[in-house]
């Protein structure tokens, strides 16, 4: 009997240990906390520290590596898990259409005047009701001029057979298919099946030229010399130019793939005022400068651009010329059938 009692007690003890860690202390959202969900490698730690210091509001930061990841995560978590997100143009539109975001309080956005006129009132959120721009960029062309003699001026040049095995391109189907469409003079958001068939034929000729697909850090392949031409984000080119001065940035003649990432507040945000304070803080000149120092993407904050001087404004990779932006095209949301065609050709390219 005694043995049984002992064994029973031991079982109970075991069961208890199995359950430890289940309870834990529930984190209470006190007034001074916001949960921020941003792109990885995009918002420097120093800005969050500065914000915390100035306002006493604590920032809990998590990161994602694609708009779709962000959307899936936000949907699968309880409302209020994330207060602030940083989606790109087409995702902004999608979040608005799905009613997932709060309107921004214009009164609280005292720093909005820092943003250049041309970056306001975008097609994906007319009147900036729900979003304000953070940073943007271009899927531009990088050329290592020491290794490549051919003059490259357009997306179309990337298909030249002489570039066999030389390219690093974004591992992003909308970017690569979009670039192919632009090289044929079509829209990046083409839906016409005949044109898509034409795009596919051309896309598949790119296969021999691509050495690798990389979205996470495409600059590494350029810097290490594994690839000598790239179709990658402009800021990645800017960073690779700092390592290797032979690398040059080229903006395609056909008009480039451009993007803009934007601050938004999600429905169910527990601390709206603090979130607004944060967004306004990000529009501040000094914050934008801190950001640009570390992640030199296109900065829509004209006041900050002025303050940064020629080091930023005269660097074409950091600061793409205005006509590149105005002649560029955003990715748009497409219907499921078209996306499926896009996915199919992407699979064909990569098989």
């Amino acid at each position: 009997m005694k043995k049984k009692i002992i064994s029973l007690m031991m079982c109970a003890a075991l069961a208890m240990t199995a359950l430890t860690g289940c309870g834990g202390t529930e984190k209470k959202a006190d007034n001074g906390e916001i949960n921020i969900f941003v792109w990885t490698e995009y918002v420097p730690e120093s800005v969050f520290d500065k914000f915390e210091e100035e306002t006493g509001i604590k920032c809990n930061v998590s990161t994602y590596s694609s708009n779709e990841d962000m959307l899936a995560k936000v949907k699968s978590e309880a409302e209020g898990t994330y207060d602030i997100v940083l989606p790109s143009d087409y995702m902004v539109q999608s979040l608005i259409e799905q009613g997932m975001v709060e309107e921004l309080d214009k009164e609280a956005l005292t720093n909005l005047s820092n943003i250049g006129e041309s970056y306001l009132n975008p097609s994906y959120d007319p009147g900036n009701v729900y979003s304000v721009p953070y940073q943007g960029g271009v899927a531009a062309i990088a050329v290592n001029t020491a290794k490549i003699d051919k003059e490259i001026k357009s997306y179309d040049d990337l298909f030249d057979p002489s570039l066999e095995g030389q390219l690093v391109v974004l591992d992003d189907y909308r970017a690569v298919i979009g670039m192919t469409a632009r090289s044929l003079g079509y829209s990046m958001n083409e839906t016409d099946p005949d044109k898509l068939a034409e795009i596919e034929t051309k896309l598949l000729t790119l296969k021999n030229n691509v050495k690798l697909y990389d979205s996470d850090s495409p600059k590494s392949a350029l810097i290490s010399g594994d690839a000598n031409v790239g179709m990658i984000w402009s800021a990645e080119i800017a960073l690779s130019m700092e390592e290797n001065p032979d690398i040059k940035v080229v903006y395609p003649e056909e008009g480039a793939y451009v993007f803009m990432d934007n601050w938004m507040i999600l429905k169910g945000c527990k601390n709206y005022d603090a979130a607004m304070k944060f967004i306004n803080f990000m529009l501040d000149t000094e914050s934008a400068q801190l950001v640009s120092e570390e992640f030199p993407y296109l900065c829509p904050n004209t006041a900050a651009v002025e303050a940064m001087g020629s080091d930023y404004s005269e660097n074409e990779a950091k600061n793409p010329p205005a006509e590149v932006i105005s002649s560029g095209e955003y990715v748009e949301n497409l219907d499921n059938e078209t996306l499926e065609i896009y996915n199919e050709m992407w699979t064909k390219l990569k098989e």
């Binding site: 029973l8 779709e68 996306l339 199919e344 098989e351």
Partner: protein, 292 residues
């Protein structure tokens, strides 16, 4: 009276069993059964215009699995897995044989050398290979410094490097079961074989190999199956040029945003796994050495 008896029985028999097995069973249900059912259900769903999964029964996802583009990738995947498994056997067998049969005191050390790399995340180790093999990597620099080559060689971003990465990541899974099988080998059988006049080669093929076949089988299963799914190896070392089934699944869950199709692909992978394990069992494989 009857009731008292049964409650006593519950306390003495069922309760301890429940307390001991319950938590594990609960974990298994929560972490294995529920996700599996979830994936299976999702594979029959569709998506709406915002990529939300809609619970509307459809077989369309399974229909898409038969598209020629996908079949090409299955083929490529199986080829990569097959070559990887073969290379793992060829490398791991002599190695395991030596460490299992050695009388040296360093036996434990050799064994540890296989296990220690496990303590570093495989992602980091695979990135290490990329740095090592790159155009300006150590290997190319060394070859040029030794005047073996004049121009840097292109090692990276093809099926060969993908296979290399797979072999590198998965070889411990081949060594460990082989080691166990070879260690169990009865030395007196080898002596008997040689006493009866068999040459070493004959002894190997007619005594050692059949007796260690179970190790080869279980090692092959444990290398072949993950190989179909290790998308990060083909992403990092293959540069996206040698996709395996794992890449297809990853793409549907991430950029493709078609979770139901990704789920259907996962189900296929699970079925292939079950089939292989079934064949293994049928051939007399020992389930314990698979760790299941």
């Amino acid at each position: 009276m009857e009731k008292k008896h049964s409650s006593h029985q519950f306390r003495s028999n069922t309760l301890p069993a429940l307390v001991m097995v319950g938590p594990v069973a609960l974990l298994l249900v929560l972490l294995v059964a529920v996700p599996l059912v979830y994936v299976a259900v999702m594979s029959f769903c569709t998506t709406d215009e915002y990529y939300n999964v809609v619970f509307k029964f459809s077989l369309a996802n399974y229909g898409k699995l038969l598209s020629p583009d996908y079949i090409k990738i299955y083929g490529q995947s199986i080829l990569i897995a097959f070559i990887t498994t073969l290379l793992c056997i060829l490398i791991a067998y002599p190695f395991s044989y030596i460490i299992a049969r050695t009388k040296s005191k360093r036996k434990q050390l050799f064994y540890m050398l296989v296990i220690i790399p496990f303590w570093t995340n495989s992602l980091i180790r695979v990135y290490g290979w990329r740095t090592f093999l790159g155009t300006n990597g150590w290997l190319n620099n060394a070859l040029q410094a030794l005047h073996i080559t004049t121009e840097p060689l292109d090692f990276l971003y093809n099926q060969g490097t993908t296979v290399l990465g797979m072999v590198y990541c998965l070889i411990p899974f081949m060594i460990l079961p082989l080691y166990t099988a070879i260690e169990k080998l009865d030395g007196s059988l080898l002596e008997a074989s040689s006493d009866l006049g068999a040459k070493p080669v004959k002894t190997f093929f007619e005594v050692i190999l059949p007796l260690t076949a179970s190790g080869i089988f279980s090692g092959s299963i444990m290398v072949f199956i993950p190989c179909l799914g290790y998308f990060f190896v083909s992403n990092i070392l293959g540069g996206g040029n040698s996709d395996v089934i794992g890449n297809l699944i990853e793409r549907q869950f991430k950029s493709g945003n078609n979770w139901p199709l990704g789920a259907a692909l996962s189900i296929i992978l699970i079925l292939v796994t079950l089939l292989l394990v079934k064949i293994y069992k049928k051939l007399g494989g020992d389930m314990d050495s698979l760790g299941v």
